[in-house]
Amino acid sequence: MTDASALLRFDSTAKSYAAVVAVANVSLDIDPRSFVALVGASGSGKSTLLKMVNRLVEPTSGRVLLAGDDVTGLPAPALRRRIGYVFQSIGLFPHMNAAHNIGIGPRIAGSPLADARITELLEMVDLDGSYATRMPSELSGGQRQRIGVARALAGDPEVLLMDEPFGALDPVTRDALGDRVRGLHETLGLTTVMVTHDMAEALLLADRVLVMDAGQIVADETPASLLAGGGGEIAQTMVAVPRDQAARMAGLTA
């Protein structure tokens, strides 16, 4: 059964669009301070499951509890201000500079951030204070997503949701930003749920990996147990890809 101390709880949560089942009856607890990766192929339902937490998607049946509160019982704006959200297309507001983008959540909640806090948030994502006045069109993709992460953290969220956060970035930036987020997860004591289709990224960043297929969770393992062959056939097919790549690259240097 589920653990009473869970920060985030899915309770028979399901979502279907007309005849298509996107998420089928998922029950799941996520502990505070854990870094959970949701891995699966396109259409496996992983993004849908994630978006039911901040109600960008409403469940067809079942519940999602955040710190014990049924999320559908809260006004959506109030709920979302408790949750950091980072996603692949970033969605920086093009008419606002970096500082305004970062500070938007606290501002609309009625407690605008001080300049010092903006600078602090910029430094958290390895950007110096001079970026505060830059417009999104003046930034590279990686810099934009750093601002996106800073924006998600600006309101001291209870949970950080990330939907393919590094999917559009070049590999070097992607690696650096992944490490940075993992570091922030530790230092800030965050609870993080990250959706990705990249098993290597999941294995390297998360301390718990959930594998989704056809709307179901088919594996729920630590990276170590997945690498040791656990989690079943679908999970192992996914683990095999980076493992084979690593082996082939090792062969090239031999």
């Binding site: 959506a76 709920l79 959200y85 297309s89 507001f93 093009p94």
Partner: protein, 517 residues
């Protein structure tokens, strides 16, 4: 060219009225379009219906749209009471606002459709309420596109507003229409330049605001908006501010005129007499026959010169043709009973429709009466003013003499005579009081069967003016005072194109002297 600029300097009031009308119509268009665009962005069906309706409105010619508001407002009087204006500012405002709707609405909806989905998702994701999302994200991102729509709407509206002259709203169309009717090209050009100049200035100012929104430069937004507002304020001041040397004793009397020279002259003659009595006077020029009559009947204008045969056939739908005294008595009774309009009396001349031909054609084909046309008609083109072929009198004449012409062509009254002289028409439905009949050596064909009714010019007073003894006293001396020769001379003085051409205003003063008033 200096004449044109001089004429433009006299257009202050028209320009001010034009600015206020166009600005009000654009403002109303914005007021309707923006909430509609917001609703449309949240509901596909609303978007389809709203854009479909706005596009449909665009396909109606502006002139027709303006004219249609007259009957619409007339029928709405059942709901809003008799005080609802049916001519002038209100119908012009509504028609032009409808016209302004499409570009604003379409640009706003398109801007919303093309907004990056990621940005909208982020707005939700950071916890914006729908109102915050609209104010902080959707509105600022749509603003440059909406401004571009407003710019287009402004240019269209300023152009189309010239047509509001035809429904009795003063605008820069007044000099254009008046100039067109009296062949005063200086006046036409002055109106066109003023209207085009206004459109360019508005486009430039709104373009500045648009760039301000696109580049996030508040200075441009404020500068463009302020100058536009100063222009509107100046227009308000021109029209409604205190006028030096005027006292507020006189009430304003609106005098109607249909779109031909005789009507312009008679309206000025009436206006000059009323002004001499201390009344303020305004002219509603260029009205269509039916609109003009309804306008005096419902009190939108106070005074109109109309013609017995026109009322008899068009308004009373009568097809018989009694003698002129009996006709006048019946019309007076009918006007009194249907609307309280008073027939003050005959001016003393008749302006009948008559079929006119060139003298050379009349001689060659031995034409003296309408009946003589019958055998020839199939090879001839007949021209008439824009309403002529729709009028019951024409249908009566056509049937009485069994006429089948090769073609019918519409001309503005000004060009109808030119068309006859140039051969673009062989026969025209001329006005018998027109000075150009004699000047152009035209022959009016006889009407032995009496198919054209009598067209005595009569003065109509609205029910309100009918109770005003001062108005009656001022106009009483005109009754029976103008014979057809005096009217023809006055008409020709305005219609001629040589150096002796007069404005309707001066021609009216001349006419007053000629008839000893």
């Amino acid at each position: 060219m200096t004449d044109v600029f001089a004429a433009m300097l006299d257009l202050g009031d028209k320009l001010a009225a034009h600015v206020l009308l166009a600005a009000s119509a654009i403002a109303l268009g914005i007021l309707v379009a923006l909430p509609l665009a917001v609703w449309a962005s949240r509901n596909q069906a609303v978007a389809r219906i709203a854009l479909g309706f706005a596009s449909l409105v665009q396909t109606v010619p502006a002139l027709a749209l303006l004219a249609l508001f007259f009957p619409i407002l007339l029928s709405l009087r059942a709901v809003f009471g008799e005080g609802l204006p049916t001519l002038g500012f209100l119908p012009a405002l509504l028609a032009l606002a409808l016209y302004a709707l499409l570009p604003i609405l379409r640009n706003a909806v398109t801007a919303r459709e093309h907004m990056e989905p990621g940005v909208l998702e982020a707005a939700d994701g950071v916890g914006m309420t729908p109102a915050q999302k609209l104010r902080l994200v959707e509105a600022p991102l749509a603003a440059p596109y909406v401004m571009a729509g407003i710019r287009t709407a402004a240019v269209w509206t300023i152009g189309a507003a010239t047509l509001s002259t035809t429904i009795g709203q003063p605008s820069l169309g007044d000099p254009i229409f008046a100039g067109l009717q009296t062949q005063n090209w200086t006046l036409v050009l002055a109106g066109c330049f003023a209207s085009a100049g206004l459109a360019l200035v508005a486009d430039w100012l709104l373009g500045m605001v648009e760039r301000g929104f696109a580049r996030g430069k508040r200075v441009l937004i404020w500068a463009g908006t302020s100058v536009a507002l100063v222009g509107i304020a100046a227009s308000l001041w021109t029209l409604y501010g205190p006028t030096p040397g005027s006292d507020d004793r006189g009430q304003t009397i609106a005098i109607g005129a249909k779109g031909f020279s005789e009507q312009y002259i008679l309206a000025r003659l009436i206006g000059q007499r009323l002004e001499a009595q201390g009344f303020e006077v305004e002219y509603r020029d260029g009205l269509g026959s039916a609109v003009a009559h309804s306008a005096v009947a419902n009190g939108s204008i106070e005074v109109l010169v109309d013609y017995t045969g026109t009322i008899w056939a068009n308004e009373m739908k009568r097809t018989d043709n009694p003698d002129r005294d009996m006709m006048l008595a019946e019309i007076a009774a009918w006007e009194r009973d249907t609307s309280g309009t008073q027939v003050l009396g005959r001016l003393g001349f008749e302006n009948a429709y008559g079929l006119a031909v060139r003298q050379d054609l009349a001689r060659a084909r031995n034409l003296s009466s309408i009946g003589d046309l019958r055998a020839l008609a199939a090879s001839l083109t007949i021209g008439g003013d824009p309403e002529f072929f729709e009028r019951p009198e024409w249908i009566a004449v056509r049937e009485a003499y069994d006429l089948q012409f090769r073609a019918t062509r519409n001309f503005s009254p000004t060009f109808m005579y030119n068309a006859l002289v140039s051969g673009d028409a062989d026969v025209i439905g001329a006005y018998t009081s027109d000075g150009r009949i004699a000047a152009d050596n035209l022959v009016i064909l006889g009407d032995p069967r009496g198919a054209f009714p009598n067209y005595d010019a009569i003065v109509l007073l609205s029910s309100q003016a009918a109770t005003n003894a001062e108005v009656q006293a001022a106009l009483e001396p005109l009754i029976g005072a103008i014979d057809v020769d005096a009217m023809r001379a006055a008409n020709l003085s305005v219609d001629r194109t040589d150096a002796e051409k007069l404005t309707p205003d001066v021609a009216a003063q001349q006419l007053a002297r000629d008839i000893g008033l």
